[in-house]
């Protein structure tokens, strides 16, 4: 009987956890900070000169790469950002000829890295940049797991002080009123820097002015809740190595459900488990009482001898093991035409 209760309640536990639906913050909306800046990358303008990579390398004082930045054969293999490279340009062969695409941190409006970080090392700054603070980073790399664009990189070769490295949108330069390094260096204005709201207008304008030149989509306007770095392209984005299946839910929205369930467990589990404990204890007590009663009635029917023995044992029970009583009681009961009792625990634990 008790075992069944146990299993049933385990099932109930699973079900109530499932009931907690993913919730957003009610109907509240948190638009980006009005000062959110961003960059619009226009793949139809990019010529693949790698000047942005060079600028990034200089501005961030990164180590020199194996091959110099004017060596364009590097473009023949697809690369990703790493701990020494915050931005890379890749070349894609498409129906419209080679198309180049720059990759770097997209500076999400609701950054997955920031949502994932358990020490708040990442922060979405009011000016749009997503920055990283190495002074608190533990190095768990959950940000790398979380990032839908696979941008953060880790210093795997640092034994004791590894950092996560990624584009900062040149946050220090922005604070000085300068442009991001790559934007400043681009010879073609393939990168347009500005307020994010303006950039969306600009992108829409370009698409409507040259409808045959552009795919009618601003990548990053809504992807993963929107990004500060957005993209225009003349070929489908999937052809230039960008995932079109990311959806529009931001990282905090994705984890809102499980996070919302946490306090419910804390609030209700003690009540539920305490209740189970009380019920099982009560059942045990009732069973015990019944048995004692049965024993009593059996014993009154039985002779003096048995009654005496029982009293003796009940007296002992106050100080010593219940189990022993049980055995003794059983013995006594058997002697006295036993009733059909199942085993039941006895209460000895004080809360």
């Amino acid at each position: 009987m008790l075992r069944r209760t146990f299993l049933g309640l385990l099932g109930a536990a699973g079900a109530s956890a499932a009931l907690v639906k993913p919730t957003q913050a009610g109907n509240k909306h948190f638009g980006p900070h009005p000062d959110t800046h961003g960059v619009l990358f226009d793949a139809t303008r990019c010529i693949g000169c790698r000047q942005c990579e060079l600028a990034c390398n200089e501005v961030n004082e990164l180590p020199a790469p194996d091959k110099p930045f004017d060596d364009l054969t590097v473009l023949d293999t697809e690369r990703r950002t790493d701990e020494k490279t915050f931005t890379v340009v890749n070349k894609y062969q498409t129906a419209k000829g080679p198309v180049f695409r720059k990759t770097q941190c997209n500076h999400c409006l609701e950054p997955a890295c920031a949502s994932a970080c358990f020490v708040r090392a990442f922060k979405k700054q009011p000016n749009g940049a997503v920055t990283y603070d190495a002074s608190v980073c533990v190095g768990c790399r959950y940000c790398m797991v979380a990032c839908p664009f696979s941008i953060p990189a880790y210093e795997y070769d640092e034994p004791l002080t590894p950092r996560v490295r990624k584009c900062t949108m040149c946050y220090p330069r922005l604070m000085e009123g300068k442009l991001p390094g790559c934007v400043e260096k681009c010879p073609k204005e393939a990168l347009t820097f500005g307020l994010r709201t303006d950039l969306i207008q600009i992108a829409r304008e370009r698409i409507s002015r040259y409808p045959e030149k552009y795919v009618d989509h601003i990548y990053g306007e809504h992807e993963m809740g929107g990004t500060s770095w957005m993209y225009l392209s003349g070929v489908p984005f999937s052809e230039i190595g960008m995932r079109e299946d990311l959806g529009t839910a931001s990282a905090p929205e994705l984890t809102a459900g499980p996070l919302a369930a946490v306090p419910m467990v804390v609030g209700l589990w003690p009540v539920l488990l305490g209740g189970i404990y009380a019920v099982s204890k009560r059942n045990a007590k009732v069973a015990n009482d019944e048995r004692v009663k049965a024993v009593k009635s059996a014993l009154t029917k039985a002779g003096e001898e048995a009654e005496k023995k029982l009293h003796e044992e009940l007296g002992k029970a106050e100080q010593a093991s219940q189990r022993r009583i049980e055995v003794e009681v059983k013995k006594a009961v058997e002697e006295a035409l036993a009733p059909k009792e199942e085993d039941a625990g006895t209460n000895e634990e004080e809360s």
Binding site: Q24, A25, K28, F30, G31, P32, H33, L109, E110, P111, A114, S115, R120, K124, P126, G225, S250, A251, P252, E253, A256, L259, V262, P263, V266, G267, P270, V271, G274, K285, S351
Partner: protein, 43 residues
């Protein structure tokens, strides 16, 4: 308090909730003792 990202908002609300959760655990223990500590005979 003004929030510009859902992330900041959640950081704030979850922070509060974690504190409340700690409080709940302590309160639950005390309340249990209060509830169970009455007339033992009636248990």
């Amino acid at each position: 308090m003004e929030f510009y990202t859902l992330q900041d908002y959640y950081t704030f609300t979850k922070g509060t909730i974690y504190l409340i959760m700690g409080g709940i655990l302590v309160a639950a223990t005390l309340y249990w003792r209060f509830l169970m500590g009455g007339n033992k005979k009636d248990d």
